[in-house]
Symmetry: C2
Subunit: 127 residues, 2 copies
């Protein structure tokens, strides 16, 4: 038995979470939203739309679009985007550690293992 | 900005979480899986199927089916089911408190609020 979780920042809908973090990391690495989207098997238009929605909810820009140049432009992270990612990664790490600790406290060792194995449907007659 | 989360027990798939907890609480109250499902706008067959899957993953029975009687039978929680619910509720309460605390630590007061408001797409030319 394991614990699983999803956690995200919300502002009238999902504003940031693991998916966006991964996408932005790939933008940082590749310098391109198109390449980042491709690496996540996401269409460019879907990734672009996602960024627009997140920016609207967060209230600041995540990407700066570079125009022109030999590579035909690309995207770089805004300072605010980098700041958010750094905060979110620390936050996420602490959440993970905390949830594992709480899970062990309530379900570790003694609990789930000590429960009897399923007996099939037990039927008790009611008069 | 708020934090939102989903957390669940996993054993080759979802084995327990908020939805099942709510369903079992309603079974406890109404004495009937059919009534409990109805209150959650879920079909009886879907609720029954869910219980089967959870029982398989957990390795023990959640419900005892009562046969006959004036009411034509119904369902009661097994002792293991009640035990799981009690553990899960304490676990869930602690998770919520912990996540709120971690959220405030990383995103509270200073962070999100201090970020500048979105400026529209900033464009920097690249030569």
């Amino acid at each position: 038995m394991k614990i699983k979780f999803k956690v995200w920042l919300d502002q009238n809908g999902k504003a940031f979470g693991n998916g966006p973090l991964e996408l932005l990391k790939k933008v940082e690495k590749t310098g391109s939203l198109r390449k980042a989207a491709g690496q996540m098997h996401m269409s460019y238009s879907k990734a672009w739309h996602l960024i627009q929605i997140l920016e609207g909810r967060l209230g600041f820009s995540l990407l700066d679009k570079k125009i022109g140049g030999a590579s035909g432009g690309g995207s770089v992270l805004t300072p605010e985007s980098k700041d958010l990612m750094a905060h979110y990664e620390k936050f996420q790490k602490e959440v993970k550690e905390s949830l594992n600790r709480i899970f062990k406290k309530h379900f570790g060792s003694s609990f789930i293992i000590s429960l009897p194995h399923k007996r099939g449907h037990r039927r008790t007659s009611q008069k």
